[in-house]
Symmetry: C2
Subunit: 369 residues, 2 copies
């Protein structure tokens, strides 16, 4: 099969768009594609969600409670914080924009490569941006000293923990150093924990840090772990005075009533999280072993996605992407992740059978190409 | 029953909050309240919505189509415009904020009393606001000449048509005059048609005007007419270049997947709209007759809500509000509508039985108080 030649302009700006990719690559509409491009939990959504959705019908006929009090109580209970330290948002995306609004027309430091939404939100509110970079030559290590040395120039730093698309994690000691220094330089730190629930039980959310750090704003999302990106469920955690100020800028009723009905149910459901973590650790071990064996680079991820590069053919990433497509696998390109420039692919960790299929395709690539 | 004395500070900022009002007025939680405060269609939601919601389950597990193409096709078909002249939004509220973003740091004229969200959105984007007022001494007539005489000072005018909370309507000729003059002065006109579907069939949306007027931005909502405020469904209509620019500022995935699944179904459903209009015209005639008979002022509404004042006791509006609460009826106060300052109540038109109950309570007020 002959596919179109590529250019960085044609790539869709995010994963999870198999239909668009089929059109771009002129594949037939009914062609099955295993979607490794969206980093959602393949175990979800939880079984009970279908019934819960039926029950949410009544909620649709009323305006959402503008204070989202029931959702806040459930989140408070699950996170060990107070309801007034919580703002419920229309997905993680609205949380990012609300955080940015707080620093309108000021200066932000963004640790790249990461979610493009931080930059998008900063531009929306006329925030000057400077980037620092994870070190690709050193396992995407977090540039703690570089951040600390520049910090006095910035009112806010955006950090994704664990980071998308590398799956790597700033260590707690380093983050503490940044937060402590931020207290002195008047710098807030927005830590996006959208994927934190995928971490092993020993590495947890920093929700209990908000008591100590008035300059910490945590962003959370229930979208990825519960496989419900269509529902739009996120929240922010910070000290109550910060939350109050963030809330004042929120568009009225931005969170839909199906979401607010289901949030309390989602957070009751500990077993689902435990089962997810267990599945992930097993699959990660297996992938690490097999990818090393096949001589592919895999970023030192802690979560349900990772960067991949063929160490034997590091300049053939686009060819690999196309080969994947031909074999029915959709990967996430990295053309719009700063500093990656398409040189890696991001792949989701999926079910055992699907990961095996991926490895099978990679073996084929190794043998045939 | 002794109720708390009132002050303008304690009033919730919008209708549809019976639980909060019970707390404020120290009424027992299980006290039944007829909610005349939210101006939603009492005939809705349509019967089929419950099943449609079940079917939307699959949609939740995927990111919403970021281009909302299916919804746009349905809206285009229903409105007689092109898909690229449409932006789907997270309820009418997001549409208002996106419209405001376009005029960041410029000057806006708002025709008051009206939705508070226009002012809120303008403040969010640092827009200077000036107000002009409907004339309360003259049936809330629209100040067309006043608007035209000031227009060259403003980049945008916000007009609600039909207006909330008066139910009145700027006439087409007047609006055309404003739009024509706007072409000369470089002034855009944001016309919020959130309630337009309640109008009699002879008065329609201005959707076909967008071809003529590059300075017209129409805001629509499916929330009120279909009684689904919890779902968050709105859209904007304008010339394609304007829509493109508005879209660039939209938060990614701000419209949830249940909404996008259901929009096409909602717009197929002509019968429901026809039945709604029929019900409303009958009830409005009945209310107009009875309220006049009881010597209450009713604003010359065209839609499913109106302003009420006791012409015999015009200074006793708060007392009337409290009397309503005691009798199990929740009205919408007007403390946060500029120039009304609580001197009127806004009431929804509800089912025949509920409107009769309302009239019964008003007769009681007339006799007893």
């Amino acid at each position: 099969m002959r596919m179109e030649s590529s250019s960085s302009r044609k790539w869709p700006s995010h994963g999870g768009q198999p239909e668009e990719m089929k059109r771009l690559f002129k594949l037939s509409e009914d062609r099955a594609l295993l979607d490794f491009s969206a980093n959602l939990n393949p175990l979800g959504p939880p079984q009970w969600l279908r019934d819960a959705l039926k029950q949410s019908y009544e909620a649709l006929t009323h305006y959402p409670d503008p204070t989202y009090s029931e959702s806040k109580r459930a989140i408070a209970c699950s996170e060990g914080v107070k309801p007034k330290q919580i703002l419920v948002t229309n997905g993680g995306a609205e949380a990012i924009f609300l955080a940015a609004k707080r620093f309108e027309r000021q200066k932000a430091l963004i640790v790249q490569p990461t979610f493009v939404e931080y930059e998008q939100a900063c531009r929306h509110y006329h925030i000057d941006i400077e980037d620092v970079f994870l070190d690709p030559l050193n396992e995407f290590q977090f540039p703690i000293d570089q951040v600390c040395s520049k910090m006095n120039k910035f009112q806010v730093i955006f950090i994704c923990r664990p980071n998308n698309p590398t799956g790597t994690l700033i260590d707690e000691e380093g983050l503490r150093k940044i937060l402590d220094q931020g207290l002195e330089t008047g710098t807030s730190v927005v830590v996006d924990e959208a994927f934190v629930d995928f971490l092993p039980q020993t590495m947890t959310s920093l929700s209990h840090w908000i008591e100590t750090y008035p300059n910490l704003i945590l962003l959370r999302s229930l979208t990825k772990i519960f496989t419900i990106p269509g529902l739009r469920v996120g929240y922010m955690l910070a000290q109550s005075q910060v939350i109050e100020e963030l809330e004042r800028n929120q568009i009225p009723w931005s969170v839909n009533a199906v979401a607010t009905t289901i949030i309390p149910r989602l957070l009751e459901n500990d077993q689902f999280l435990a089962r997810t973590r267990e599945w992930l650790q097993v699959q990660l071990q297996e992938l690490k072993f097999s990818l090393r064996e096949l001589d592919f680079y895999m970023s030192p991820t802690n979560v349900n996605y990772y960067l991949l590069k063929d160490q034997q053919k590091p300049l053939h990433t686009e060819k690999l992407f196309t080969f994947f497509m031909e074999q029915g696998i959709l990967a996430r390109h990295t053309h719009n992740f700063k500093s990656l420039d398409g040189h890696y692919l991001r792949l989701a960790v999926r079910s055992e059978a699907e990961n095996k299929e991926l490895l099978h395709v990679l073996r084929k690539w190794r043998e045939e190409v």
